[in-house]
């Protein structure tokens, strides 16, 4: 487990922050009391802290060889290994039950996994739909499509770096079986077909667009994540922060006089949620440098209160993954600038007008994912599928962008001469295939999805 100085103080900080709200309510009541007891001057009025909404952000960032805890933004956030936003409300409530302090142990833990991932495929499913030699350990088993009707088994996705470099025998293998009809094993003659990747893109897109936190949850034993797991450490810290904040808000005012309690009423911590982006090693520990083959994980953690029963719901999602919204639009707009259009048109042997029209049409159902962060910009891959001349087509571009997501609206600028065409399949080809460079990014994505599941199992 990584030593993260400062993280252990988080529960105390959050509970102090939450506890300040009822204290403020008491202060307001104290200030109002003269006014209240003087009905001659105006209406007797109580000034009342109705609600406070708090947002708390902290980072873990690597500086030289150590990891530091920050509340402030550093000038170069390139090596941020953990970025956490915690938000919650402290609101006045009318309670019908006696409030009690809660403990971390008393909170039930649940997890929402992506619905298209089959974490425990049966031996039969592996035999029928996976390449030969596939096991639960080396294979990511997905069920794509709106009805989860298209099994896709990807064996050894971690070998993505070998694609295009070694003989195809060493590359990751996949088997795509639309509508449950077992498909061919790929690569076939050193080529992968486009269809499974487009199906994956659409499935990921729907998943993110419909809310990756939506879906059935299952019991989740945080302790089973193992001693080395920083994910476990961080999750437990967040849960502890919630339980201490709730206890502080519920019980912190009990030393007040009965009069003030009668005036101020009761408060509760509501809508507590944390958004955590982590850079991890495969064993679930924080990756402090790029040599450790890191991957990113996004977790959303909610605390749900049902009467007196508390529940933590953890959902995993794709970090740096856009399917819609203002930032997505800003990326598309950056590509539609005159200079960018000229660059892309040259790559595609087309005209700027045709590229512009293509981008406008294909951007409606695309995905964008970040593959690299550097001091001078981010490298992103854009997969833009669509229909051209009545047939499925796709444009896949890679470029370096300067992104300012904090601006309203967000600003995105394509760096000159950085755009590369990874794929533009000809719509008139019967069996379009994907070139090795584009395939690498998809397999990296498969590898990351497999790791997300791995660190939470």
């Amino acid at each position: 487990m990584t030593d993260i100085p400062g993280l252990d103080k988080l529960p105390g900080q959050i509970s102090a922050l939450a506890g300040a709200v009822p204290q403020a309510g008491i202060s307001l009541a104290r200030a109002s009391i003269d006014h209240l007891l003087d009905p001659v001057r105006g209406f007797p009025t109580l000034h009342f802290m109705n609600e406070a909404r708090l947002a708390w952000r902290f980072y873990l960032a690597q500086k030289e060889s150590e990891i530091f805890f920050f509340f402030m933004r550093e000038d170069s956030p390139v090596n941020v290994v953990l970025d956490t936003n915690i938000s919650f409300r402290v609101a006045a409530v009318s309670r019908t039950y006696q409030p009690m302090p809660i403990t971390v142990e008393s909170i039930s833990k649940r997890i929402v996994l992506p619905p298209f991932i089959k974490t425990q495929p049966s031996a039969q499913e592996l035999r029928d739909f996976a390449p030969q030699g596939a096991t639960r350990e080396n294979t990511l088993f997905l069920t794509l499509g709106p009805q989860r009707q298209n099994p896709l088994a990807v064996m050894n996705p971690k070998k993505h770096n070998l694609v295009g470099i070694t003989e195809p025998d060493w590359w990751p293998k996949l088997r795509y079986s639309p509508n449950g009809v077992p498909g061919a094993i790929e690569p076939d003659n050193g080529k992968y077909s486009l269809k499974p990747f487009l199906d994956l893109t659409e499935t990921l897109r729907s998943w993110v667009k419909n809310g990756f936190d939506v879906g059935p949850d299952m019991p989740f034993d945080v302790d089973s994540l193992g001693y080395q797991s920083d994910v476990k450490h961080i999750l437990k810290t967040i849960i502890k922060a919630y339980s201490e904040a709730l206890s502080q808000v519920r019980m912190g005012g009990t030393n007040q006089s009965k009069l003030f309690l009668a005036l101020v009423g009761e408060y509760e911590v509501l809508d507590f949620q944390a958004r955590v982006v982590l850079r991890l090693r495969p064993d679930g520990s924080i990756a402090s440098d790029n040599k450790q083959d890191p991957f990113q994980l996004l977790m959303l953690v909610w605390m749900i209160q049902e009467q007196e029963k508390m529940k933590t719901r953890v959902a995993i999602g794709p970090p740096d993954f856009l399917v819609s919204g203002a930032l997505y639009e800003a990326f598309v707009e950056a590509l539609r600038q005159k200079e960018a259009l000229t660059e892309i048109a040259t790559l595609l042997n087309s005209s700027s007008e045709e590229v512009n029209s293509l981008l406008r049409a294909f951007a409606k159902s695309g995905v964008i994912f970040r593959i690299k962060r550097e001091d001078d910009g981010d490298t992103d891959v854009l997969v833009l599928p669509g229909v051209d001349s009545g047939k499925n087509a796709a444009l896949m571009l890679r470029g370096k962008f300067v992104v300012d997501a904090a601006k309203d609206p967000p600003r995105v600028e394509l760096k000159k001469n950085t755009i590369r065409n990874l794929l533009f399949n000809e719509p008139n080809r019967e069996s379009p295939s994907v070139e090795s460079e584009a395939v690498k990014y998809f397999f990296r994505l498969f590898d990351n999805i497999k790791r997300w599941i791995g660190v939470l199992q």
């Binding site: 103080k9 102090a16 001057r41 109580l46 009965k258 009668a262």
Partner: protein, 290 residues
Amino acid sequence: MKGDELHELGDILRDAGRTLDPDSTPNPPEIPDDDQRLTTVLEKLTYVQNRMKTRGVKPPLTEGKPVEFSDFFSSVGRSLVEAQKALDGHSETYLERIRGRPHILPSVFRIPKLSAEIKFALKEVKAEKINLIFYSTKDEAEKQHQQSVQFDIVSVPPPQPQEMINLTPQVTLILSSGMRNSVFEGINQFLGSTGDEAELKSVPFLKDQDNMDQVLIVEAAPLKCFFLFYAEPEKDKDVGIWRLTLDPSPKLEEVIRFTRTIGKAGDERLLHDAVLEFGRLQADFLKQLR
């Protein structure tokens, strides 16, 4: 809080002051005198707003002076209460000035709600205390203000749960004829139970209804008893205070009674005259109720 955003909190309070309760917003006809009056009120409102800007909510803007989170909330709250008190004063003035002019709707000025958003950085965090820092320059504020809190303070009528009523010490002048009759019945019951003629005579206000109407009966709810004040109209030195408890059974006790001048200062006469005057006002009032 971004740069001078906290300064702007004063403006928010000022704007809140401008937000008059829509149900009671005056709509005076355009008569020069009334326009002038309204201008005066608005000038006074501006004065209140300016006062709010310079009191309480002035933010700590230097990095060297962190402010505790709960103190910050408290200072905003105190400023709001001060502002409302000042507005109440001006409402009173306004109502006074429009008295006798029925074409002008009576109005009071209220701050119904204060909403604010603060962005801030942290100086030091201990388990019990959170110290906030507000950077004054825009660049620093954008970089450092990573934490935020939004809050709503609303003005509500005070709650009147039984607990609060019980906790608030109250003395009430009893004017209801039903309650007054209960008190006198209690006294009669007590005197009847003693059977002591001398004691009956020693309670001067039981002679007739006029005398009884002049008895000031004050209920001291927390003590579960009544205090009765009475001054003899004919005898300018005769004044007394009695205590009546009803539970478990009626009991009347003399607290103090002056029947003659003590010393030259005549301080019992001051008490006599005050109780007599107030008693007469009350008697007149009670007669009107019959």
